[in-house]
């Protein structure tokens, strides 16, 4: 079974802090994704990566950055956390285009910014 592991289930941080959310997958997937999920808005794509050291902006990248130094790990960084970044963050991974396989999700990190 595919395993996508997010480092924290719940996290509380303060405004202005630099926040790191970590995601690790064990299936040698090329693609990795970060979404946020808010009531009434669904899942929205923040950033994604097709390969090591490669990143692409999603639909709502403002206030976020990412890092992919190793194939299995994709980190989401909130450079200076703000209260409007309080949300559920979901990481996902999938094989590259040739495989036509679905994205698999981690359990999510519920982040509160005070």
């Amino acid at each position: 079974d595919v395993k996508v592991t997010q480092s924290s289930r719940y996290l509380v941080k303060r405004t202005g802090e630099k926040v790191f959310l970590e995601c690790v997958q064990d299936m040698d997937h090329e693609n990795m994704f970060w979404y946020r999920q808010d009531p009434g808005l669904g899942l929205r794509l923040i950033y994604f990566s097709y390969d090591v050291k490669m990143k692409e902006k999603g639909d709502i990248p403002e206030g976020y950055s990412v890092s992919r130094e190793k194939k299995e790990r994709f980190s989401l960084i909130l450079e200076s956390a703000s209260t409007n970044q309080t949300s559920m963050y979901l990481c996902a991974s999938s094989f590259g285009d040739r495989e036509r396989q679905p994205q698999h999700f981690g359990d999510g990190t519920r982040l509160s910014i005070l």
Partner: protein
């Protein structure tokens, strides 16, 4: 702008009922449509649909796609309390990216 719309937003039924969840979409390109089930944690994959008119089935769940009318339905027969969840529809308009609807919350009462 690409978008995915799910209906109804929420649904309350009794065990044994049959439910139909709807997903309509407008995208510039279409590669596939996916259904996920989300309980308290990770969305779990149910179906991937790429061709019109071919039903995908897994136990009491089934889904079909209509690429001409730009919609898909997810059917659940003989519902059980364990079917209570948010059901997410997503469309893949280009390589590997997904656009999600806001989901349908299904509650099944004994």
């Amino acid at each position: 702008e690409d978008k995915v719309v799910q209906s109804p937003l929420s649904l309350v039924v009794h065990e044994g009922d049959t439910v139909t969840l709807n997903c309509s979409y407008e995208v510039t390109n279409f590669r596939s449509l996916l259904w996920y089930k989300q309980e308290k944690k990770a969305p779990t994959f149910l179906f991937m649909l790429t061709s019109s008119g071919i039903e995908k089935k897994s136990g009491r769940l089934s889904s079909i796609l209509d690429k001409k009318e730009l919609f898909s339905i997810l059917n659940i027969t003989a519902t059980q309390t364990g079917d209570s969840a948010v059901y997410l529809c997503a469309v893949e308009p280009s390589t590997d990216k997904l656009i999600f609807g806001t989901g349908t919350r299904l509650q099944v009462f004994p």
